[in-house]
Amino acid sequence: MSEFEPKIVAFVCNWCTYAGADLAGTSRTKYASNVRIVRFPCTGRIDFMLLMKAFENGADGIIVSGCHPNDCHYTSGNFHARRRWITFRSLLDFIGFDTDRITFSWVSAAEGKKWAELVNEVTDKIKAKGPFTDLGNLDYSQLKQQYDEAITK
C-alpha cells in the first residue's frame, strides 16, 4: 500500500504569503506537493466557516497564513484576523476538535524559505497523525434512541 499523502489546504493572503510562496517557486525551492493554496485578498477575509468547509470536503490539514503584524496591506486586517483565530481556536479546543490540524503562521513576501519549511513541517505532522476521519465517525445513537422512544410512545 502506498504511503498516506495528506491533503492540505492553505488559506493565504495575496500580499505576503502568496508572494512568499511565489518566491519559493521562483527560487526553485523544493517542498511537499500536498498543499493546495487558496488566495485571499487579506487574512481578514478568511472566514472560519471556510476552514470548516475545507475539513468537511476532505482536507486533512489546514494552513492559515498572512502578513506579519504591522505589515498588513490594509493596515489592520491581520490584527482582526488574529483576534478571530484566538477566539475560533479556543472554541474548537472546547468542542474537542483537533486543533493541531490547523496551523496558523505569519509568512512575509520575502520568506520563501520559511514557507517551504512550514509546508514540509505541516505535511510531516499530518502524515504522522493520519487521515482526518473525526467528522465521519460520529455516533447517532442518542438521536436514534430519542426517535425510538418518540415512536413507541
Binding site: 477566539t87 468542542i95 503562521s105 438521536l143
Partner: protein
C-alpha cells in the same frame, strides 16, 4: 406587584407607551411573556423570580416595532441584552421605556439607557456556580472526551433553530443557514452540518452573548448550547478584557483589536 401594575397603567394613560411587554401568569401558574395593549389589561402583569425569559428578543419583531412607543419589563438578563443591543445601535426606530423591579421590590422606570447601564453594572450577573462547575468539568476532560461529549450532544440536534429564535443577539434578517446558493449548512440533521451550525452560532455570538442561558433552556433536545457561548465570553474576557452587555458604548471584541494582543500558537 400592585405597584408595577399601577405604574404601567399610569404610563398608558399619559401616553408614554402603546404596548407593554411583561410577564403574566399562565394557566399552570407559570410566568409567561405577555403583551399588554391598554391600561385595562395592566392588572395581569406580575413579577416573580420565575420570570426568566429574555423579553428583549421581541423588540426585533416588526409587529412589535409598529407600536413605536414600547414599554418593556426588564429582568437582569433583559436589561443586559438591552445594553448590548444599544451598543450595537439596534433601537434607532423605536421609543422604549424600560422598567424593572429591584431587590427591595421598588419599581424603577429608567429615564434613559445610561441609567439602565448604571443599574446593570451595579447588579452585573457573573457566571453562575452551575455554569462554572459544568465548564470546569468539561475543561478537565481530555480533548477526545470533549469531542465525544459534544458530538453526542450535537447528534441530537434537529435544527429547529429555537436557540436562534430565542436569542436577542440573533437579529440578522437573513441568517447564514438560510443562504442556499450555495447551501452553507445542511438543513437536515447530520454530522458536519450540526457541528457547523453550533460552531457558527458560538462564533457569531462570541463577545456578544449576554449569558442569559435562554438557548440552553429552550433546546428541545436538551443540548447545553449556552455553555459554548458562556465559554466564549469567559475566554474573550480573559484574552481581551471585554464584557458583553456591560456598556452602551462598548466595543465588540472581534470588531476591534490591539497591536499587543497575545497568542501562543501563530508560528
Amino acid at each position: 406587584m400592585k405597584q408595577l401594575q399601577n405604574k404601567v397603567t399610569e404610563l398608558f394613560e399619559n401616553g408614554t407607551i402603546n404596548l407593554m411587554i411583561g410577564f403574566k401568569n399562565a394557566l399552570n401558574n407559570q410566568a409567561v411573556p405577555c403583551f399588554i395593549e391598554n391600561a385595562s389589561e395592566a392588572g395581569q402583569l406580575i413579577y416573580t423570580p420565575d420570570c426568566k425569559n429574555n423579553l428583549s428578543v421581541y423588540l426585533h419583531k416588526a409587529e412589535v416595532k409598529q407600536a413605536k412607543k414600547i414599554g418593556i419589563f426588564g429582568n437582569i438578563a433583559t436589561l443586559r441584552a438591552l445594553v448590548q443591543l444599544t451598543s450595537e445601535n439596534q433601537f434607532w426606530d423605536i421609543e422604549k421605556t424600560v422598567l424593572t423591579v429591584n431587590d427591595k421590590d421598588e419599581v424603577i422606570v429608567f429615564a434613559n439607557m445610561e441609567e439602565v447601564e448604571a443599574y446593570v453594572q451595579a447588579n452585573f450577573p457573573e457566571f453562575t456556580e452551575e455554569e462554572k462547575k459544568l465548564l470546569e468539568q468539561l475543561e478537565a476532560m481530555t480533548r477526545e472526551e470533549r469531542w465525544k461529549f459534544w458530538t453526542d450532544q450535537f447528534s441530537a440536534c434537529i435544527k429547529c433553530y429555537a436557540c436562534r429564535a430565542v436569542c436577542p443577539m440573533c437579529y440578522c434578517p437573513q441568517c447564514t443557514v438560510e443562504c442556499n446558493q450555495p447551501q452553507w449548512i445542511k438543513t437536515s440533521s447530520e454530522t458536519t452540518g450540526n457541528l457547523e451550525w453550533h460552531t457558527m452560532r458560538a462564533m457569531h455570538l462570541a463577545g456578544r452573548c449576554i449569558n442569559c442561558g435562554e438557548c440552553g433552556r429552550v433546546c428541545p433536545a436538551g443540548i447545553p448550547v449556552h455553555l459554548l457561548t458562556v465559554k466564549m465570553n469567559q475566554d474573550l474576557f480573559k484574552e481581551f478584557g471585554t464584557k458583553s452587555g456591560f456598556s452602551t458604548k462598548g466595543d465588540y471584541a472581534l470588531n476591534t483589536f490591539k497591536a499587543e494582543d497575545k497568542e501562543g500558537f501563530i508560528k
